[in-house]
Symmetry: C2
Amino acid sequence: MQSQSKVRELCRVHGLAATHQRVIIYRAVTARPGHYSPEDVYNLVRRQIPSISLATVYKNLKTFVAHGMLRELHPGAGPLRVDPTLERHHHLVCTRCGAVRDVASSWLVPVRARRPAPRGFRVREFKVDALGLCRKCARKRSPRSRS
Amino acid sequence: MQSQSKVRELCRVHGLAATHQRVIIYRAVTARPGHYSPEDVYNLVRRQIPSISLATVYKNLKTFVAHGMLRELHPGAGPLRVDPTLERHHHLVCTRCGAVRDVASSWLVPVRARRPAPRGFRVREFKVDALGLCRKCARKRSPRSRS
DNA sequence: GTATCTGCAAAAATTTTGCTAGTAT
DNA sequence: ATACTAGCAAAATTTTTGCAGATAC
């Protein structure tokens, strides 16, 4: 978890007013790795600021994402999720239960293109989702073959 | 574009009733590569079946995805999108305008893990998004450096 | 003091659901 | 004949917006 003053400084660096709500929201999201929906964040933050509104949470999450202070995720269906881990990393996405886990970038052989991208596209980074089954779902899948 | 009879056969293979609506929807989505939202598909299909409902489009797109007849996409924010390209491929995602283009899997050096995935996760495939700027947005970005 | 931000409430956008009549097998 | 599906309308969910008052710089 980042200290209040660190968050305030981070806001300043990005030209954002360091409001109380903003500091609390950012600290809540970065308290530990995970993938939070706006609702999740709202519920976390309400413990400390019962009067906060969901709209404020949305606005600030979008602000943080726009300033690169958080990452945006769209792993499966459903609501927006936000990821506090800024270092390059990839995701393990269970196609059965939808769970998403981070995995260090070093897990993969470096991703490289063999040639420039088509149509003048300028690649900045590669984001990899490893689709498959988490242990729990892999177990459920036909304990012995079907029949 | 797939012929009506091909689509009917495909439905049969997957144990789905080959209804008129289903055939029209599937043909519309697979008419050409692209990334369609349910609204898009609805508007395409309404030309041929003015009485069709958006709910029917949603139900059928989800059915197709569940049977592996389409792929589901969540490239950026916003609505569900669906991709008719079933062969392995990756995406170029413009982080400025949100445009998504397909790029052949062979564009990348093969993606491989250096070691088994953590926590018993079973990887089935890697999905790569190349994040960056499309030509149009790259041009807009500071034609000469700022100042 | 001025620009930015919050909270509220309302609206917009997206997706799901239950049900009846209709259709495919 | 039986099971599945379409259309409809309503609800649920997720996200955005406008604005008055409050706060940060």
